[in-house]
């Protein structure tokens, strides 16, 4: 591999032409641009092509969202806040509200969303007259004509899989990480069951205590769980922990 410019440059005789080569080059450009349109585009009237997966403001597919709050926690600028909304179909639900004024369009909310309800929309013209106008509530976050391309997928591979030679089994945290119960600490308060946004936690009776009251323990539905950690965080006795699979 040779140098492409440093080797060629000393043999470049055109630099002895004082400034004539430069004049020739710019004149060529004048001729060229008089023939074709200049490369600049007239921005507000015509716009550059952008792909569907362009990372503009975050969007929300309302029906897919389960209100797990992962986006709120992953957001580096803490611009997402979970708010309670009164939906006609679903009743009182918790949905993300985005302060686009603080958003830095990193796309993490869409990437980490377990149900792919958060999407990255190709909308980038976000000027508003007030700061309040920049706070997008869950309904404003909806994007007309969203499609598959706007979802961000996390095709992670487990290191243990790769060591075994399995390279076609993409997973992500919401598929493999599951909460694990420390039985000794659990007091059976069933807060985790109430908190779970997908109803994956079921309290089952495992026995009776001295006073004859039933002892309840959570049981996790592995298929439904999305590893949102809500149960882990609500647990008053730290009996739950997220078990990472690597």
């Amino acid at each position: 591999m040779a140098m492409k410019y440093l080797d060629k440059y000393p043999k470049n005789n055109s630099r002895h032409l004082w400034v004539l080569k430069s004049f020739y080059t710019t004149f060529k450009q004048i001729i060229k641009t008089t023939r074709h349109r200049p490369v600049t585009i007239m921005y507000p009237y015509e716009k550059e092509w952008i792909p569907d997966y362009y990372r503009g403001r975050p969007g929300l597919v309302f029906d897919k969202c389960v209100g797990c709050g992962i986006c709120e926690r992953i957001c580096p600028t803490t611009c997402i806040e979970m708010v309670e909304v009164d939906d006609a179909k679903a009743g009182k639900v918790v949905r993300p509200q985005v302060n686009v004024g603080r958003c830095m369009m990193c796309g993490y909310c869409a990437e980490y969303c377990p149900t792919k309800a958060m999407i990255t929309t190709p909308e980038y013209e976000l000027a508003a007259y007030t700061r309040e106008g920049l706070i997008f509530d869950p309904y404003q976050l909806a994007y007309e004509g969203h499609n598959e391309e706007m979802q961000v997928h996390m095709h992670e591979h487990l290191l243990s899989d790769l060591q075994k030679g399995i390279t076609d089994n993409p997973v992500n945290a919401s598929l493999v990480d599951r909460p694990a119960l420390d039985d000794a600490k659990c007091i059976g308060c069933s807060r985790c069951a109430k908190e779970c946004p997908v109803g994956a936690v079921e309290m089952i009776v495992v026995g009776e205590n001295d006073k004859g009251k039933p002892i309840k323990r959570p049981k996790f539905d592995e298929a439904k769980c999305i590893a949102c950690e809500k149960c882990v965080m609500i647990c008053p006795k730290d009996a739950l922990a997220l078990k990472e699979v690597l």
Binding site: F23, I30, T33, P38, T40
Partner: protein, 386 residues
Amino acid sequence: MAPISNWVTFANPMDNPLYQFGAVYNLPYDVGYKIWQLLGGLIAWLLDVLVPGNGVSLWLVGNAVSNALALVLMIIVVFAVCFIVNLTMIWIERKVLGRLMDRRATRIGPLGYLQCLGDGLKTFLKEHIVPDKADTKGYMWAVSIIIGSSVLVAGMIPLSYRFFLADYGSGLLIIFGLFSIAPFMILVAGWSQNNKYALLGGMRAAAQMISYEVPMLVVFASVALMAGSFNINEIVGYQNDNVWFIVPQIIGFVVFMIAATAEAERIPFDLPEAEAELVEGWQTEYGGMKWGLIMLSDYFRGYVACALGAIMFLGGWTLPFVDDSFLPEIVFLLKVILLFFIMVWTRGTLCRIRTDQILNIGWKILLPLAVLNLFVVVVLKVGGLV
């Protein structure tokens, strides 16, 4: 007593006994004279209708008043032509630079022609600011003189044998003298602003002025020597009779164009306002319409430089082998624009050069070349070849 309607007869201005220009027909004077005949004739007619047979009406359309007001209107006409030519040149510069840089340049109006007016309106609406610790007199007077002398010298340029303000015997020298007032005032302006960038810019302007006017004067001298006159009409006529001076004096032409670019402070010689290191150089503290007028006067100076080049080397308003009655003003302006295009092209191609380099080029290259040019002219003259 002629009827009032006869007053608007578009009489030949040369019939007026007070006609200023001798036997030469003057187009802008004629235009001014005719405008006044329309205007003054209207006023006189109205007065005559109101008060029939009054003396004021007769006085208004008399020879003395007609001549005086025709002169005023003539100056306005000349300035308007200059102004429109300048707007066109700004438009050409922006458009050519835009094409050269692969962008669209001006957009407002047909082909973007009205952008400069828009910019002018914008700067006009800005607040008038004088820096607190500036020397106010110097600050305002310097910029006034820069703008005034630039406009004056632009008006002094004749567009043709019939389109001129004054036909001096030493027209070339007077234009050159007025042309080189501005760089001196730049020094004053740079000093009076109480700003270090402006001061450095003013210093640079002074250094640059001294090193470029000497070769330029030598070139002027060789042109005048060859034509045998400082009179612009005669220089142009001599070129029309013999040969355009660009042929025998090609060295002089190159030297003149480089020196004129420096004199008009355009890239690559815009050191006094080098925006990379001196922010805006000597213009740093000028804002609003003062800045807008400075910008405009820059183009006036660019126009003067190109016009001098066209007069001295490209045969002015004449064309070889073609009947020269064919709109000489347009021919002249086309030549000016051709030279201006070269200036714009240079601006788009070259970088700004350094202070010591500009002095080196001025003294060590251009001055010997100008003297060589003078030598060539002397040899040709002595040898009787021209």
